[in-house]
Symmetry: C2
């Protein structure tokens, strides 16, 4: 029913927390992954996966989110063989804990795991070299980056992660981020290396900027973090 | 600075009216077009065009919008040689009025104009055959379509437009729409031909559905329509 032969890629927006969810599918085998689903839009995502005749074998979280509850647990109720994936450095529960350098395979597609701590200890970036795409979560945002003032945030760690693991990718790789609040859906290595107002600074200046943001905590943080450490299991969602 | 050699394509979200704006650019010449910009996000779009070193030669409106004021007038203040484009059937003012079958060229790229009336008289769909993409505005939405109960709406006209001008494209063409309220950013000809709950019905059933939606008018309609008939000129925006 849907096109075969072309890589299947969908970006989706969860409007309440402005979170981006991604579906990637292998056209030959229909095996697929979903990156950073949100519990509020899990049913929408499940419907789309079924409509596109995709079989989601992994639900990949880039990190333990503080601003929304992950949709991986909810999706596993619909796709019981789906495995929730999280970094081994996250301190959270998942069906598969991955580490830096590991490869996730789905059909004829694969994603390289790159550890990119600094926003949290367990942040990872998923890279598709074949399609020149990377999914950075909150490590790197469009002309910005994730905050470093809660969970296990550390600006110097984040600075090194971005330069070593993301900006070392070829300039023409497209970057797909965790959030954007002005409706810009993607960026690229070349753009951020040239235009990111924080990460083009020195490490010292970067740390100075990040340590003085004085942001309020995310509204959902006290609910989201404990729940996400348990893969979004509703038994751990405080109401 | 940004990647050359690959077609430049960006989808953007205007969160207030959930409108999608598109930037398409020719990598060889940097000539580009912007489809359905919104006045509220015109500065964001201008910044991105400059950052990507793109030269926007056309600002393309798919139709005279009722839910937001177009950004073409505002962008022309920043890019004075940009030409605002609208259908010759729209009744609106623009620098270039286009008709069915006409081709818009920017560098080594082109878009075919397909007249798709029914939501309004002046609705057009822009088609890139090279990249297998069509920009449908509000004629066809993801699993839906634009309403037909105001402006020059007519369900039977819309039904014929979609089947003749959009569903006649090859199945593997990606479709990029004017709005989506649940965060699904794109669809395809194959999907909508199989899954669109309205347009897979007969023309009679479709007309019946569309004539019984009983929707309230868009909040911004009385401001947006008169302004958009004048390309979004602020002199025509009622406050
Ligand atoms: Fe985060
Ligand atoms: Fe419209």
């Amino acid at each position: 029913m849907v096109k075969l032969g072309r890589f299947i890629f969908r970006q989706l927006v969860e409007y309440k927390s402005n979170t981006y969810t991604y579906i990637l599918g292998c056209p030959a085998t229909r095996q697929s992954v979903i990156i950073d689903p949100v519990v509020d839009t899990a049913e929408r995502d499940a419907r789309l996966l079924k409509e596109l005749e995709l079989d989601p074998i992994y639900g990949l979280n880039t990190h333990v989110h503080a601003d929304h509850v992950t949709g991986t647990h909810a999706l596993k109720q619909i796709f019981p063989h789906m495995k929730a994936v999280l970094s081994d450095k996250s301190g959270g529960k998942a069906d598969k804990l991955v580490k830096d350098g590991e490869i996730i395979k789905f059909g004829e597609e694969e994603l390289e795991i790159r550890s990119t701590p600094g926003h949290t200890n367990g942040c990872v970036t998923y890279v598709s070299h074949k399609h020149k795409m990377a999914f950075t979560g909150d490590a790197l945002l469009v002309r910005g980056c994730g905050r470093t003032d809660f969970q296990q945030g550390n600006p110097r760690t984040l600075y090194k992660s971005v330069w070593k693991q993301i900006f070392s990718l070829p300039d023409d790789y497209d970057l797909f981020v965790g959030h954007n609040y002005v409706g810009v859906l993607q960026t690229s290595v070349a753009e951020e290396k040239a235009l990111n107002p924080r990460l083009t600074k020195s490490e010292d200046e970067f740390a100075e900027i990040m340590n003085n943001l004085n942001l309020p905590n995310p509204k959902q943080m006290d609910v989201a973090v404990p729940a996400n450490l348990e893969d979004g299991d509703p038994a751990f969602i405080k109401h």
